[in-house]
Subunit: 114 residues, 2 copies
DNA sequence: CACTTTATGCAACGAAAGGTTGCACATCGC
DNA sequence: GCGATGTGCAACCTTTCGTTGCATAAAGTG
């Protein structure tokens, strides 16, 4: 049984830098390429490209505001991504019954059908 | 605060092909580069490289058995990865309190198949 | 208004990742 | 011994992630 996931969506959050960007955007409410580059150790241009990727899959939306372009997380879209992360995690968990003990952090019982 | 995540571990499961490989290995118990290549639409060599990546982060272990090299998922390690997926998902969720309902709705539309 | 600062955007380029093909080599079954 | 099967190594291509450099637009300030 494999879970149906949107590879583009997953790949978008699969990148460490993009994950940090989402963290920052969620923490601050919104941000620009420049503001994010000040908080994450990559250049503004790299951030800008990642924002384009995130925008393309709909995880963020940018709006021009004067001379700056301010980005904000699309929470519904991110919730969908989170749901997929959980779905895959649950699917794998259900295949590893015997190690449930080891994964003490994961207490959510999953009744995913096989 | 951002969640402490092992980027290598996350990146390992961030690749669609590697996720499918893990799915197959879990379903079949074990597998070889050749057997996996028959189930996933990429060449055996590509599979071999992914197995090397997964082995490096400890998600799978390979053992020579005659002329073939058989790989098996390290369940403790995978459980750790799953825990991190959940941790990040939870962190993001906690930042998006107000859309919890949407997340639930999306969850229902996330299908699973064989 | 002119000038400087600040925020973007575009382009070229390099390194690494994911994928392919081709071939050499080891091993199993007969 | 010999063919079929399973690996491993190497070269090569494309995309992705990151860089630097430069041009441009919008504020802010004298």
């Amino acid at each position: 049984m494999s879970v149906l996931v949107d590879d583009d969506l997953w790949s978008a959050v699969g990148d460490p830098t993009r994950r940090r960007m989402i963290d920052r955007l969620l923490a601050d409410g919104s941000g620009t390429a420049t503001s994010l580059a000040e908080q994450i150790p990559v250049t503004r241009q790299a951030i800008a490209k990642h924002l384009a990727v995130l925008d393309r899959v709909g995880l963020v939306h940018g709006a021009a505001a004067g001379r700056e372009r301010r980005y904000r997380v699309d929470e519904a879209r991110l919730a969908r991504a989170v749901a997929q992360l959980n779905a895959v995690g649950d699917a794998w968990d259900s295949r590893m019954e015997r190690i449930k003990r080891i994964a003490e952090t994961i207490q959510q019982t999953t009744e995913t059908k096989e």
